[in-house]
């Protein structure tokens, strides 16, 4: 049972971390709460579904198509709708909800409300820690961890990463140092969408695809990024592990816990906020001091 718990925790932690890191980056650099973030994840799953099941293309083509289309969609949406009115904080909130609803309804329109699924990339299973684990699980976890490591490298070692980190600290001064904040923000939104799309693509074979699958991960992502501290990467990853572990514990230990797992992760978030009102690693924006 311990092995089961460990594997499924690792799995949900890495998916959540992918989503939360993107959400946090967007919040840090573009300064918006993007409630459409997990809708991109949903759209990516549908693109994979179309590519593999409708058009008969191989899975990797589907993944590439999903990531590139979703990144394009996110960047265009950001440039056209959000960037011109970033300072209207509440309006942006509604705009992002609106975008998520539009995407959800488009999927309903094109694919209907049926439960869809896509084939796995690899067959078979192995035994780890006395648990039967399918290769698809192993592959998914590996891809997610490698992607997160690549993002970490991008942020820490490259010029773009430096611009992203600097802009997340102080937009004005980043501008003065020659980093166009609007350009950095658009690229960051693109990276965040790419992370969401990769997460959506890689877990698509394991879950059911349906136009409303963005809602429940959204609450979890919000809980994680608040718990870890908005805008902090370290916080997002740590938060993802905490939430994933507690969710799985609840499911394993409490009868009917599956109903309560979303609520439980939010309960943990509130407890953390009571102790640390800015999350574990909250970031304060310099220009708002």
């Amino acid at each position: 049972m311990l092995g089961n718990l460990l594997v499924s925790t690792l799995m949900s932690a890495s998916v959540y971390a992918m989503l939360a890191v993107g959400f946090s980056l967007t919040f840090g650099v573009a300064r918006i709460i993007n409630l459409a973030h997990t809708a991109f994840y949903m759209v990516a799953s549908y693109i994979i579904f179309t590519a593999t099941m409708k058009m008969g293309l191989p899975l990797y083509v589907g993944v590439v198509a999903a990531v590139s289309l979703v990144v394009l969609l996110a960047m265009v949406t950001y440039k056209v709708l959000v960037d011109p009115m970033r300072e209207h904080e509440t309006t942006v909130l509604i705009l992002t909800i609106g975008v998520a609803l539009v995407l959800q309804e488009l999927m309903f329109l094109w694919f209907g409300g049926y439960f869809r699924s896509v084939p796995t990339a690899v067959e078979g299973f192995t035994t780890l820690l006395g648990v039967r684990v399918s290769y698809q699980y192993v592959l998914t976890i590996c891809v997610l961890i490698v992607t997160l490591a690549l993002v970490w490298l991008l942020l820490m070692k490259t010029r773009l990463g430096l611009a992203i980190r600097a802009t997340a600290q102080d937009r004005e001064i980043a501008n003065v140092m020659g980093m166009s904040d609007s350009r950095t923000a658009t690229i960051t939104v693109g990276i965040a969408a790419a992370l969401a799309a990769i997460a959506g693509a890689i877990v698509a074979p394991l879950f059911i695809i349906e136009p409303r699958i963005w809602l429940s991960p959204l609450t979890v992502v919000l809980a994680i990024s608040v718990l870890g501290g908005l805008g902090s990467l370290k916080g997002s990853i740590l938060g993802a592990v905490i939430i994933a572990l507690s969710e799985n514990l609840v499911v394993f230990l409490v009868p009917q816990g599956a109903f309560f797992k979303g609520a439980f992760s939010l309960l943990i978030m509130i407890v953390v906020l009571l102790i640390r009102p800015e999350g574990l690693y909250g970031v304060a924006f310099e220009e708002e001091r």
Partner: protein, 369 residues
């Protein structure tokens, strides 16, 4: 009697007809109250009654989130708590509506305290995202104790709000108008001034001797009270209290209506509901793309009117006096209160720096922020 009527007319002309925005609101309310008598179509009555109920809900959100700036993303908790409380009291104990709805509202006030107290320490986005959690947690409880809450199906079979549709409509309409007027009065009162001050600068408000924690809790409770009234009305009108009333979309609806209409204005929230809720019904002509059109219209309107619909219209119909900040109809040439001409371009005045006196002033350090 004649003199009293003349006084009323003078007041009416001076307070309502003088501003186009108020005239529109007044005539719309009058039409809404008279029209159903002339054309009592049950479907129309149902939509309008629900619109009034949701108008209370949206206005209560605006009171807390727009006016006091405590951006609450989980407003559904007040609505749901009141709906469930009314429903359970009504069904399990057989209490009449006159008791269940007020008790439901009180339950929502208690919920306001439960949400408000942990949120006192939180600020900005942390507060918003924390409030989002409460209805989800409650929903988890609803699904855990199914024999009491009815789980997925909810509690159904409540007493009707009134024996006929027309009665139901007028109850919702009167409660709606009264609640909204009450919220409007609150924002206009001394309490409203304090709440506004907290939104603008909490630290400064505290420094001027305002117990901001206490006032924020008052705001949470007041907002809960009105949202609770709406929730109780809704439960009895629909004759069901289900988990739907706690869902994230219910919270988002209030936010969408209010921001679409114009946040922090109260009247904007009401306008938002009266435009969007019937629109969603009209869009039933195209059921396939109903929500799609709805979302697209909201996104497009907000893209071009970022402050919301009502302020956008008011900005075109009314002009603010640069001197006394009173609003004037766009047709006027000078301010109706202080007589300042309105058409001349604004006079720009240099800000005066502090005069320095004495040599010490020179090296005085100026720590920003």
């Amino acid at each position: 009697m004649r003199r009293y009527l003349a006084y009323l007319w003078r007041e009416f002309r001076g307070e309502i007809l003088v501003l186009p925005g108020r005239t529109i609101l007044f005539s719309a309310t009058a039409i809404l109250l008279i029209l159903p008598l002339l054309y009592p179509h049950p479907y129309l009555l149902r939509i309008l009654a629900l619109t009034f109920i949701f108008a209370i809900f949206a206005a209560s959100w605006d009171l807390l989130s727009g006016f006091v700036g405590q951006l609450n993303l989980g407003h559904a908790i007040f609505f749901g708590v009141a709906a469930y409380a009314s429903a359970i009291l009504n069904l399990r104990l057989g209490l009449p509506i006159i008791i269940t709805i007020p008790v439901g509202a009180v339950a929502a006030v208690v919920a306001g305290l439960v949400v408000g107290i942990p949120c006192l320490r939180l600020k900005g986005q942390y507060l918003s995202l924390a409030t989002l959690a409460f209805p989800v947690i409650l929903m988890g409880l609803v699904f855990m104790f199914t024999e009491f809450t009815g789980g997925e199906l909810g509690v159904s079979g409540l007493t009707r709000l009134a024996p006929t549709r027309l009665h139901e409509y007028y109850i919702s309409a009167f409660v709606g108008v009264l609640s909204i007027l009450a919220i409007w009065k609150i924002t206009d009162s001394k309490l409203g001034l304090v709440l506004h001050a907290i939104r603008e600068d909490e630290v400064a408000a505290r420094a001027s001797g305002i117990n901001t924690s206490q006032y924020k809790l008052i705001a949470f409770c007041l907002s809960g009270l009105f949202a609770g009234i709406a929730g109780g009305l809704y439960a009895h009108f629909m004759r069901i209290a289900g988990p739907q009333s706690l869902s994230m979309l219910t919270s988002f609806q209030a936010i969408i209506w209010t921001i679409f209409g114009g946040i922090a204005t109260i009247y904007g929230a009401v306008v938002g509901v009266f435009v969007l809720f019937p629109m969603l019904e009209v869009l039933r002509v195209a059921p396939e793309i109903r929500l799609l059109l709805y979302a697209a219209i909201i996104v497009l309107v907000l893209r071009f009117m970022p402050e919301g619909l009502a302020p956008w219209v008011v900005d075109r119909l009314e002009r603010e006096c640069p001197r006394c900040k009173e609003h004037n109809a766009f047709t006027r040439r000078e301010c109706r209160v202080c007589g300042t001409p309105l058409r001349v371009p604004l006079q720009k005045t240099p800000v005066s720096g502090e005069h320095m006196s004495g040599g010490e002033g020179l090296s005085a350090s100026q720590e920003g922020g």
